[in-house]
Symmetry: C2
Subunit: 226 residues, 2 copies
């Protein structure tokens, strides 16, 4: 589905050069439920930005369904992301001037989904993340964990093949976090939706069928379990 | 040190009214190491905003060292906060256009601390949060957990009597999070610095000498242990 081949990433700005990833190889198959763990600063967010095409490697390449991202036009890449990938940012990236409903339905608008169906799917996804009735609030009127769940809802509502989630339960209590994990596992098992998330939560790591460990920008362990 | 008496807080905007806290009583003594836990949306951030004076109760009152906040002038309150309270926000609130050093030393500038001493204390606090040498980076050049630690450093560097921390380890792996907790415990035991933090992390809850549980804006448990 997605593969990274010898991907390295350095951030450069003025005289600051930071090597965030060193020659990372990773193949993500359809239907996986993979956790990426590692210390703060080890490269988890950077790796997610590379495999989503939201940022470009310094060297190496990323293939989406066999095609190298660097060979895609900007249009082709953004269409691919819109139709196949849902991204949940570590800092949510909700649009402050849009309501919860508008934030969530944004991508369905781009896909040309009709108004009645958008309304119904927003209501349904809000139920799934335990935020019923929050459609008309603005992000600033939500708690941190509620904002996080709206970011999750936004990524899920367009039913993408792949969800890339950057620490999706960081601001959730264990009960709410596990409910979210259950929902994701169910979509994975019943609909074959692929999940790749970075996490610090050992509960999530234990419930993933594959665990990748990063340290200082390198994969030090890649373990598939039952 | 700080006490909340029958504090209630409702957020109102247009036709939306949200009761975030219902008649909360809480007395925080000097030298405590208190964790506030509870589900996402239960009122943790709101409670921290009330006891820091960063926001005003709808009813009830908050006393700082015996004096009601409502009887203080705006100047008196902000001076008190500057000199006695360090606040770590759930979303860090780092200033994007300032470097890590400038973000951290801001409050020392307000306090009139000299340049050499500011430099030294910034270097020292960055060591304490395991971010040595990061002085000249901008917040956007840091990982999520690194930004969180800069927010922690900023609150700590002015050596306040009281630290109020809103989920200070949410974006940290367990190792980095525990190192932070060790540092806070040491300041608490050796310098008598008071810590009140909201958290979802059971490790932190277990290592606190007092645990307050919130549910739907009410305190449902307030337990002091050894
Ligand atoms: N500005 C606001 N306007 C309206 N409602 C708000 C506002 N801020 C918070 N709320 C609501 O008040 C309640 C308590 O919010 P608070 O941020 O204190 O929760 P929390 O316990 O910190 O949650 P989390 O663990 O998710 O950070 C929630 O129901 C939230 O939606
Ligand atoms: N824009 C940037 N400019 C310079 N360095 C950066 C930039 N973004 C990230 N870095 C650095 O790259 C490294 C990896 O960052 P990344 O955000 O991928 O870590 P992470 O594993 O997601 O950490 P966390 O668990 O704290 O979120 C870190 O050392 C970080 O400081
Ligand atoms: Mg990250
Ligand atoms: Mg909160």
């Amino acid at each position: 589905l997605i593969s990274a081949e010898a991907v390295s990433k350095s951030y450069e700005s003025g005289d600051l050069t930071v090597k965030a990833l060193h020659s990372v190889d990773l193949v993500i198959g359809s239907g996986e439920f993979m956790a990426i763990a590692g210390p703060s600063g080890s490269g988890k967010s950077t790796l997610l930005f590379m495999i989503s095409g939201l940022d470009i490697p310094t060297s190496g390449r990323v293939l989406l369904k066999g095609k190298s991202i660097s060979e895609m036009s900007g249009r082709e890449l953004s269409d691919f992301r819109r139709d196949h990938i849902g991204f949940i940012f570590q800092s949510y990236n909700l649009i402050p001037v849009l309501t919860v409903r508008e934030n969530i339905e944004y991508i369905m608008l781009l896909q040309g989904v009709g108004e009645k169906e958008r309304r119904d799917r927003v209501a349904e996804i809000l139920e799934d993340v335990s935020l019923p009735g929050m459609e008309n609030r603005f992000p600033s009127q939500l708690s941190g964990g509620q904002q996080q769940r709206v970011a999750v809802a936004r990524a899920m509502v367009s039913k993408p093949d792949l969800i890339l989630a950057d620490e999706p339960t960081a601001n959730l209590d264990s009960y709410t976090g596990e409910a979210l994990l259950d929902m994701m596992r169910e979509l994975n098992e019943k609909r074959g939706m692929t999940f790749v998330f970075s996490t610090h939560d050992t509960t999530i790591m234990e419930r993933s069928s594959r665990l990748v460990l990063l340290r200082d920008g390198r994969i030090v362990k890649d373990e598939t379990r039952g």
